[in-house]
Amino acid sequence: MGMKNKEMNVLVFNCGSSSLKYRLIKMPDEIELAGGEAQRIGPQTSEPARIIHREQGREETIYVEMKDHGAAFEQILKIMEKNNKVDIIGHRVVHGAGIFNNHVVINKDAINNLKRTENMAPLHNPPAVRLIEACHRLYPEIPQAAVFDTVFHSTIPWHAKTYALPGWIKRKFGIRKYGFHGTSHKYVAGEAAKYIKKPLDKLNAISCHLGSGGASLCAIINGKSADNTMGYSPLPGLVMSTRSGDIDPALVLQMAIASDGNFIEMEKLLNKESGVLGMSGISPDIRDIFKTAGKSGIRDERLALTLQVYLWRLKKAMGSYLAVTGVPDAVIFTDTIGETVPEVRQESCAGMEAFGIKIDLEKNRNLKQLPADISAPDSEAYVLVIATNEELEIARTSMELVA
C-alpha cells in the first residue's frame, strides 16, 4: 500500500483574527471525524474564550483561556487526541503573496518565507503564520502543510492579472491580480468534472463562489483558473456583504479628499460598510434583503436597488467570463448564497441563452440534495449547484504534499 492510500487523519485549520476553525478528516475515505471552532482567542473580552467542539453527532462547549492561536491549538489537540490521533496538519493560508506559487510542507525555510507574506495580507496572514509557528514548535513530529487560496490562481495569464499602472509601482509593491477563494473554486471544479464525467484538465467552467461574506467568480479553462473577479486584494469584483466590489478609483480619491485624505476611513468604508450593508442600510446578508424587500415601506426603494445592483453585477461578471470561456461545460454555484438562494441563481442565469445557458426553474426552486444539475433540457451547459468543502480540499492537498 503506497503512502497516498494509507489511512491518515488530517487536522485542517482555518484561522481568523480571533477565531480558529478546525476539522479532523479521515483520509483517504474523506470522513469527517470531528470539528469545531475556538472563539475569542487573545485578550479577555466581554464573553469568555471557548471551544465549541463537535464529534460523533454531539456538540460540547469547553471554556478555556487561550492567549493566542498557539494556545488554542494546544487545547484543540488535547480535545482531539482523546479519541483520535492527528497524523497531518493542514493550514489554510489566504495569501501566497507571489512568494508561494505552490502549496508547501512546513519547515524552517517555509516559515521564514511565510513571514514575508504578512505585509501583503496584514489582516489574514499573520494569525495563520503565528499558528503554523506554534504548531511547528510544539509538535515538530506532526507533518504540516500550508495550503494557499491564491495558488489555484497562479495560472491566471499575464493579460488577466496585469494592471495598467507604472512598472515601478507594480514591482515595488508586488501589484498584480492574485485572486482569492482558490481552494473553493478548485474543489467545486473537481466535483463538477466528476459530476459531468469529464476529465478535470478538459473542463471549462464558470465557478460562482457566493458566500454570505465574500464572493468571487472564477473563469476556469482546462481545469485551471483563467481569471478571478477579486484582484490584488479581496475588495474588487462582485457586490459582497460589506465590501463594495468594483468602484471607480477616482471616486475613492474624491471620497478621500472629502474625508481630509483619511485612507484608513476609506478602507473601513469600502471593506466593512459598503456592499449589501451599505446599500440596504439594514443587513449585510442578501438573504435578509430578499426577505424584507417589498415589506418595509419607505426603505423598499433602497432594498429593491440593493437586489438589482447585487444581481446585475453578478450577471455582468458571468457574461465577462463566458466571453473568455465560450459556451462552458458548466456554470457552478457554490457556498452559502450560491447553494441556498434560488432567486440568485435564477436571476443571474435569466436571459443567458446566447451563452448556451438556461436553467429549469422548477429544478432550481426544489433542490433536494447537492450536487445537483438545474439546467433546462435545452441548455448546452450544465448549471450545477455544488456544496463547497474547502477543508476537504485542504486535507486532500495536505495529504498529497506530505505523503
Binding site: 477616482a250 471616486l251 446599500m279 443567458m352
Partner: protein, 366 residues
C-alpha cells in the same frame, strides 16, 4: 450654416468652424484658462475666424460639455436658467464646468444674438438603468456627493448607435439592434445599447474607470489606492496624478505611446499591451451581452477608430460562439466615420433649428 464648435479640455481647447460640407478652419488654444479675463480665449478664437483673409462670423456656437449630471438629458441653448443649472452642477465637475460657463458667457458677449448650444457627453447615459448607475456604497456616507455612473463619450456613442439604427431600418429590419459602441479615444469607453437606449457602460462616475487609455489606468482594485496611500504616504492628488497621467499605455510602455500606435506596430512589447487591451475589451463585451441578452453590432468611433479595423475582426471571432435566435442579425462590426466636430455640428444645427421653430411659434404678447 456655419457653426463654431468648441471642445474644451482640462488645459487646452480645440475649435472648429464648420459648414454642412466643410471644415473651414480649426485650431487649438493652449492653457486657455490662464487668460480667462476679458474674454481671453474667445477673443483669440474670434481673431482666428478667417478664411482667405476674410472674416467669418459663426451663426451658432456649440460647446462640448463633459458633465451634465442627471439634469441635462439633451443639448441646451444658453440662457439664464441653463447657466444657473450648470452652476449648481459645477462643484461636481470642478475641472470643467466653471471654465465652460466662463467661455459660454464670453461667447454670448462677443457674438450677441448667436445661439450657444451646450452638448453634454453624459446626456446619452442619463437613461442608464438604476442597477447600472449605482455603486454598492452607502448613499449616506458620501459627504453629500451624488455618486453615480455616468459614462463619458455619449456624443459619439449616440451618433454611432443612431447610424446603426438607421441602417437597420434602411435594410427593412424591424427589431431593435443590440449594439456595443466602442469609443476609441485617449480614454476609451465601451457602451451597450438597445437601439439608442443605453444599458451599460465601462465608464464610471468619472472617465477613469473602465478600459485603460493613453495615460489612464482604467479599472483597478481600490485596495491598491489604499496601499499606495499607506506605503508611500501619498495624498489623493498625488495618487490621482499617477492614475490619470502616468498609467495606461504610458505606464506600460513609456512616454508618448498612444492607443493607435500599439495596434499599428509589430513591436513585441506593443503586442503584449494589445493583448491586454483586447482582453479588457473582451470582458466588457461579455458583460454587455449578458446585459442585453444578445449582440448584433459592434461599432467603433473616436479619433483612434481605425484601430477598430484590428479590434473588430478579433472580437467578432472571439464572440462568434454566441448563440443566435432564429432571425437575429449575424454579429458584424462597423466603423463610424464621423469625427466629434462633425457630430457636434449636426447636433447643434438640429437644436438651433428646433429653437428657431419654437421661437417662431411663440405667440406675440399683448
Amino acid at each position: 450654416m456655419k457653426i463654431l464648435i468648441i471642445d474644451p479640455g482640462k488645459q487646452s481647447l480645440n475649435y472648429y468652424l464648420r459648414s454642412e460640407e466643410d471644415l473651414i478652419t480649426c485650431g487649438r488654444i493652449g492653457n486657455y484658462r490662464d487668460n480667462e479675463e476679458n474674454c481671453g480665449a474667445m477673443n483669440e478664437i474670434n481673431s482666428r475666424l478667417t478664411y482667405e483673409d476674410e472674416k467669418i462670423y459663426p451663426e451658432a456656437i456649440a460647446i462640448r460639455v463633459p458633465f451634465g449630471g442627471n439634469i441635462f438629458k439633451e443639448p441646451a441653448i444658453l440662457s439664464g436658467s441653463v447657466l444657473n443649472k450648470m452652476k449648481i452642477l459645477a462643484p461636481a465637475s470642478p475641472l470643467h464646468l466653471p471654465a465652460i460657463i466662463m467661455l459660454a458667457q464670453d461667447a454670448g458677449t462677443m457674438f450677441p444674438g448667436v445661439p450657444v448650444v451646450f452638448i453634454f457627453e453624459t446626456a446619452f447615459f442619463t437613461g442608464l438603468p438604476a442597477r447600472e448607475r449605482n455603486y454598492a456604497i452607502d448613499p449616506n456616507a458620501m459627504h453629500g456627493m451624488e455618486i453615480q455612473r455616468l459614462g463619458f463619450h455619449g456624443i459619439l456613442h449616440e451618433a454611432a448607435c443612431k447610424q446603426i439604427n438607421a441602417l437597420v431600418r434602411r435594410q427593412g429590419g424591424h427589431s431593435v439592434p443590440k449594439i456595443i459602441s466602442i469609443c476609441l479615444e485617449p480614454r476609451p469607453e465601451a457602451a451597450a445599447a438597445k437601439g439608442i437606449m443605453p444599458i451599460m457602460t465601462t465608464g464610471g462616475a468619472t472617465p477613469l474607470e473602465g478600459l485603460f487609455g493613453d495615460t489612464s489606468c482604467g479599472e483597478i482594485d481600490p485596495g491598491i489606492l489604499i496601499k499606495l496611500a499607506q506605503e508611500l504616504k501619498w495624498g489623493p492628488e498625488q495618487i490621482n496624478k499617477v492614475l490619470t497621467e502616468e498609467s495606461g499605455i504610458e505606464g506600460l510602455l513609456g512616454s508618448g505611446v498612444k492607443l493607435a500606435d500599439i495596434f499599428s506596430s509589430k513591436r513585441k512589447d506593443y503586442k503584449l499591451v494589445c493583448e491586454l487591451f483586447l482582453y479588457k475589451m473582451l470582458l466588457a463585451c461579455g458583460a454587455a451581452v449578458a446585459a442585453m441578452g444578445t449582440l448584433d453590432y459592434i461599432v467603433f468611433s473616436g479619433r483612434y477608430k481605425d484601430a477598430g479595423k484590428k479590434i473588430g475582426p478579433w472580437l467578432v471571432k472571439k464572440m462568434g460562439f454566441l448563440r443566435k435566435a432564429t432571425g437575429e442579425t449575424q454579429l458584424t462590426y462597423m466603423i463610424f466615420g464621423k469625427q466629434l466636430d462633425e457630430v457636434m455640428f449636426e447636433t447643434a444645427a438640429a437644436k438651433v433649428k428646433e429653437y428657431n421653430n419654437e421661437f417662431a411659434l411663440t405667440p406675440a404678447k399683448n
